[in-house]
Symmetry: D2
């Protein structure tokens, strides 16, 4: 690729790149959080991880609802089918994987389902759903982006970083899960969906609102790591 070509690309970057750059500070706080560092080197207190895992199960329920909402909001049969496939994947595959993963940490599905939902879990999930109801399908997917694309970036970055300790790290399976080709492919699909929706329903005029949505959603994702860290104080 020529320098000129590179420049012209950087002049019209894709939506996700723009959003991440516009919210660089919030994105760094989220993706380079102490919780993430503690996963990378295995120093995260187990209580923090277990608290996070339980809430992540409750999170998944509302995450499924977000894709149901996306299916409702589709402009055409293609949109509906795609969102319904994601909904099925969450309910029929991811939730089982999550439950199996959690059982290795001594967390039982029924116990998790009975947990009180943390304020931080409510905050991010309801923010995403309400944004999707207030706005359109693009607003909804931009609110979801920090979750899916952020976890993919965190997984990939940790897996590639020399600072990450995988041997003897109890959190290595978590890193593997999000660094896996399977999860990376899910994130690539989500990213493609966002760009396709930007082409179809987006415009420069929408960038301020979309950026604000991305910024707020990123902050609420970081607050979920904070929640995990505070589990030690609470216990």
């Amino acid at each position: 690729m020529t320098v000129t070509g590179k420049k012209s690309i950087s002049e019209t970057p894709d939506l996700f790149s723009r959003l991440r750059e516009a919210c660089a500070d919030e994105w760094r706080v989220y993706t380079d959080h102490d919780f993430v560092r503690g996963l990378a080197d295995g120093t995260l207190p187990e209580a923090c991880f277990r608290h996070y895992l339980g809430q992540d199960f409750l999170f998944l329920i509302h995450f499924a609802r977000a894709y149901a909402l996306a299916a409702y909001k589709g402009d055409n049969l293609g949109d509906i089918r795609q969102a319904a496939a994601s909904l099925s994947a969450i309910l029929d595959v991811e939730m089982d994987l999550h439950v199996k993963f959690c059982s290795r940490w001594g967390l039982d599905e029924d116990d998790m389902a009975a947990l009180p939902e943390a304020e931080e879990t409510m905050a991010y999930t309801r923010y995403v759903l309400e944004k999707g109801l207030q706005g359109d399908l693009l607003d909804l997917h931009v609110a979801l982006a920090p979750c899916i694309l952020g976890y993919a970036e965190i997984g990939r970055t940790l897996a590639e970083s020399p600072a990450t300790r995988l041997e003897g790290n109890p959190y290595a399976p978590w890193i593997d899960m999000y660094a896996s080709d399977q999860y990376q492919a899910v994130a690539e699909d989500e990213r493609a969906t966002i760009e396709r929706l930007m082409a179809r329903r987006g415009s420069p005029g929408r960038l301020p609102v979309l950026t604000e949505t991305f910024r707020q959603a990123t902050r609420l994702e970081a607050a979920l790591w904070d929640m995990g860290m505070h589990a030690v104080d609470r216990s």
Copy 2:
């Protein structure tokens, strides 16, 4: 059944029985419509049936959206899973069956997808979706009931009626489809869902609004048969 038993049942009938009885006139107009009679004896003009079939394909798209909405509106994981399973069944099974059925009538999926949506198709589908958004899951399912339970009743009644001509009737496969054990089971599930939601979220105080919803939805279903009948005038 003893008289006492009958009486005690009629004192607390299930919701669907109450709604059908409260809207008996509208229900009869819908289930005993000339379009239905024309299906039963095979005299329905082909143009009417083909027009109806094409619109029914567009209907199915919004019907899928209604179950996506139901999944979003679920109070718990069980609700979400059930609605998501219905959504998958519509998109992955029923739509294919419908397309195959239509191909026997010379209707191609792409052609159907490109049809202008009839006013009557918009009327019922958007009524259901909007009612579901304005109200709760019970309001949504009551708006859906005339469709699913009405078709099951029509299919069963036609299949059992001596007046129905099945031999040489080009509409016999349509009658078979809705009289089939498979479709009857779908309708039984829907009916059970409505009763379960009535037990969980319903009350006598809600009956006036639920009855009005059922009445309006039934009238809009009958209008879809009218639409089919008028296809002859238009052609």
Copy 3:
């Protein structure tokens, strides 16, 4: 204005002009409908007008709901205030005017509120509301446009047309109402809102969906005139 200037304007027309041009056939059917012609020359049977008026009262209730929805969906305080002002105007001013207008035709508010809602009234109103919930504020306002801007165009056109008979025409007050400076100003505000939302949230990529919305909404408005015409057959 020079020809060049004119041309450059026609190259980038405002959204409403584009939509009206893209749906020219449907727009003509709606704005030049027999019902409208019957209002213009006073030949519309009174039964048609009275049926229409009663339904228009029920229409107004859902029209109010549409502005409540717009207030909910606002991106900022300005959006919310503007929609809330429209909502107040409908509930506190327009509805009273409508009731007074109807009383001159012997229609009482309570009687109108108890009317069964016509299929056509349900169709347009629920279409608008559901489109607004599925999409964003721009989708909602485009679905509302045929109503507000269409009535303004009809009122203005009838008032200016030499073919319109105002003397001795029982429908002259109706024409005056929609040709009035007050109503024309309401329509201008709505038009400005649509253009402002197009600048903020619109894009060329949204035109196909917005055009389809405008086309469907225009057809459903025309169906309301049809409903009025059919009142004679029913009575």
Copy 4:
């Protein structure tokens, strides 16, 4: 009141009393919070109050949206008119009062509108809105109840408590505002609305979900006081 009377009342208490009793722990944490105690004796650090006030302005915007949503979700014209009147009161009266109140603390409207929304502000407001969209008008009002009825109880309790210091207490005007007859009347209206909706749309079967909604909303209200307290750590 006789013992019999008392007993019969406690057998069928109103919905709000039931919810408050079922969530007694959470309600106490919220209404007897250190932030509230600091308001009562004037010891709350000014930074805490100012941080809270700024966020409360952002809160009001979404509170207005909640009443717009209530107007959309109304089952009849009475519901719509009542919610629209609340929406107008918030936008045309309460917001001005709030701005005037804040100006005495050196907070300017434009500055407040430009504040980053705190996680806690997003959490409660979006929870209410999303609950209202997922459920019906009763679900929405139960999610709003801890805010309106809680503030009325706090205002009244503080005004009546001998432990409260009003002289020389910079927060006395805040206490006066929520203890005022005007605000108490607003809260009474809200309480009557909840009971009326419970009679019309409620049932014993809905109590578990309604209680969970009330509990979560109460916790998210308490989190807003926490947010205020933490302002000292942040500054």
